[in-house]
Symmetry: C2
Subunit: 381 residues, 2 copies
């Protein structure tokens, strides 16, 4: 099943080989949108392919909410590490690592090596937890640009991202018109839907309800597995194509036990699947990172931030490509289309590609056969 | 907004005037499907209209999962009590209380006066909590038929129900072919979808995660409001037409504060709405009842119970009418259609009415203008 493969790819990526890291803002010169200075900041990243001499073939791929730096698949010490976007990034793939120098870094606020709530607070010697500063998509994009400068990249052939990665791509392009020649934005727009706000809210409430969460102070103690599991499970039911759930599990009981009984334990395979997905997710993701990153998504609103889409992008030489999934209820295709139209109105080059698919927000991954040629074309032009 | 009106109707019904109650099985002669004898059992009910002399105009309306006995609206002591199905049940309505004697009883396992987990366990003098026996839709239907006999009704002109009420109507008709002349089943089929299993599972997990739930022993102590709220909120996002959520709330911040900030409190109106809905629900519903009733829904499967649809209904004189909402993802119209076809195949009279609507399972209420004439016709024929 495609969906499970996706989950499997993501989860098996939690151990990322050949990770690099760069530390900056030791002097706290990095300013956050909340007005405070913050540092040091570590960016943990991977690169695929080679930077050319002209240093003009770099492509930044932003991860999705919980994806690691392992965008492409990789063989290391005899082990194959699948990439979460391996149909799009890799040798001969649309983002061709024989041609492009692909950079993929863990989010600021993430938990795969970059500075986030689980990092040690230098002031206390203990993990930040909720003392980590609140941040916005703007902060995450600024941190990313600073990180790229630190590794010698001041210009991108393209910035590419799906979902929150798409928000970050848009934000980066808005903050510095000259940074990326192209921006490829998949399943994202200038604002999130009310549905996504609602689901993020419920997911956070579930995490914070777990007594083990303990106001964010669980590091070195019991992990708030039940709360984070529920958060993940809510995502699974909403993102997934429900027909797939139906076909795959239906009403099959666990252990083939068809005898009617009532138990608060796992009775049906669909419950067992959700339980498994929840627990697997807990092995690789930090609940506080989930809270902070979901908040960054919620607060993203380019019109509020820049006053208008025109203010954000007018005069930009960046070439935009948007890809949407018709049934996406987290980022509405109508919003993306509106953004595309506004860009075109103010003379910015923009292409809109709507994919007709019933697979919802997950279509970002599941429809890669339809997405691949669009990205290939966008990068060639 | 229709949706909020629905919620308001349901919630304002928590105080039900002119409630009647009947107690039976004091001698524990009532047997549950688990093999154990149980009693005493109280059924708390309301009636609308008058039973005729021939005692042949009774219509049983099963409540939905969390609805009270207040199916029709009513004026009592100068106060108007809205009915949760007032567009369908009432004077001049499709289930016309000038013509029919309408009975609506709280579910066995419920919390509006019928015996349930919050009732006093006669063996201990304390609320049952999780010591309440696990039960099935079959038990609920059997209790209902016994209750009807207790109030002198041994035959129904019709049994009518939506959602879990539809399951109960089907079960009653299968258990006793002669009990109901007609069965009108709205948004239900002989089995629940994998999606409904999944959502029920997550909702229960949220309730049980709340430390105040305390393994079901919270009566007289702190109420597990946060867990039950999350359970309710999951329902709200999944049942509701997400477009309505979008149009009603979008990204509007609370208090009109558009300044970008990050807070774990309520920042957006959609969050505030969910918080309000969750808390309001807590004022009228018992978390343990939610757990038990959702389990009864999960385990419902007429084919497993009777061996086949033919075994369950063959030779039945009951006349079935099914109404489905095309976008219902909790009970799939395709399942209902299959049930209808199987009934027709074994010579049982059955009519299938599919309503084309994007409103999902909530369409059961929201599409009452389309549902009303179908029920009116089914009862007239």
């Amino acid at each position: 099943m495609t969906v499970v493969e996706l989950g499997d790819n993501l989860d098996s990526c939690a151990k990322v080989p050949n990770l690099k890291a760069v530390e900056f803002s030791k002097d706290l010169r990095f300013g956050l949108q909340n007005g405070k200075r913050f540092g040091p900041i570590t960016a943990a990243y991977k690169t695929f392919g080679k930077l050319n001499k002209a240093r003009d073939n770099a492509v930044l791929v932003f991860p999705t909410l919980t994806a690691t730096q392992q965008a492409a698949s990789e063989k290391s010490n005899g082990t194959v590490f699948p990439g979460w976007w391996q149909e799009i990034v890799g040798e001969g793939k649309p983002i061709d690592t024989r041609k492009f120098f692909v950079v993929c870094a863990d989010h600021f606020g993430g938990c795969y090596g970059s500075t986030g709530p689980s990092s040690t607070n230098p002031d206390t010697g203990k993990p930040f937890g909720l003392n980590f500063p609140g941040f916005f998509i703007k902060d995450m994009a600024n941190v990313t640009m600073e990180f790229l400068r630190q590794i010698g990249i001041t210009k991108l052939r393209a910035v590419v991202g799906a979902s929150i990665g798409g928000l970050l791509s848009l934000e980066l392009a808005a903050l510095d018109n000259a940074f990326a020649e192209k921006a490829i934005v998949v399943g994202a727009s200038h604002r999130v839907s009310a549905t996504y706000l609602a689901l993020n809210y419920i997911a956070r409430e579930a995490i914070m309800l777990d007594p083990a969460w303990n106001s964010g102070n669980y590091y070195g103690a019991e992990f708030p597995e039940r709360g984070l599991s529920i958060a993940r499970q809510i995502g699974h039911v909403s993102y997934l194509n429900q027909l797939i759930l139906e076909r795959k599990f239906g009403r099959q009981p666990v252990n083939g036990n068809f005898k009617q009984h009532v138990s608060l334990g796992l009775q049906y395979q669909v419950e067992s699947y959700l339980d498994y997905q929840g627990k697997k997710f807990c092995k690789r993701f930090d609940p506080n990172s989930y809270i902070y990153l979901s908040k960054a998504i919620d607060t993203f609103d380019l019109e509020k931030e820049f006053g208008s889409i025109e203010n954000a992008f007018s005069g930009s030489p960046t070439e935009f490509s948007f890809i949407t999934i018709s049934s996406d209820n987290l980022f509405l295709p109508s919003d993306t289309k509106e953004l595309h139209s506004k860009l075109a109105e103010c003379g910015v080059r923009s292409a809109y590609n709507g994919i007709n698919s019933p697979k919802g927000h997950d279509g970002l991954f599941l429809e890669h056969e339809k997405i691949a040629p669009i990205i290939r074309k966008a990068l060639k032009e």
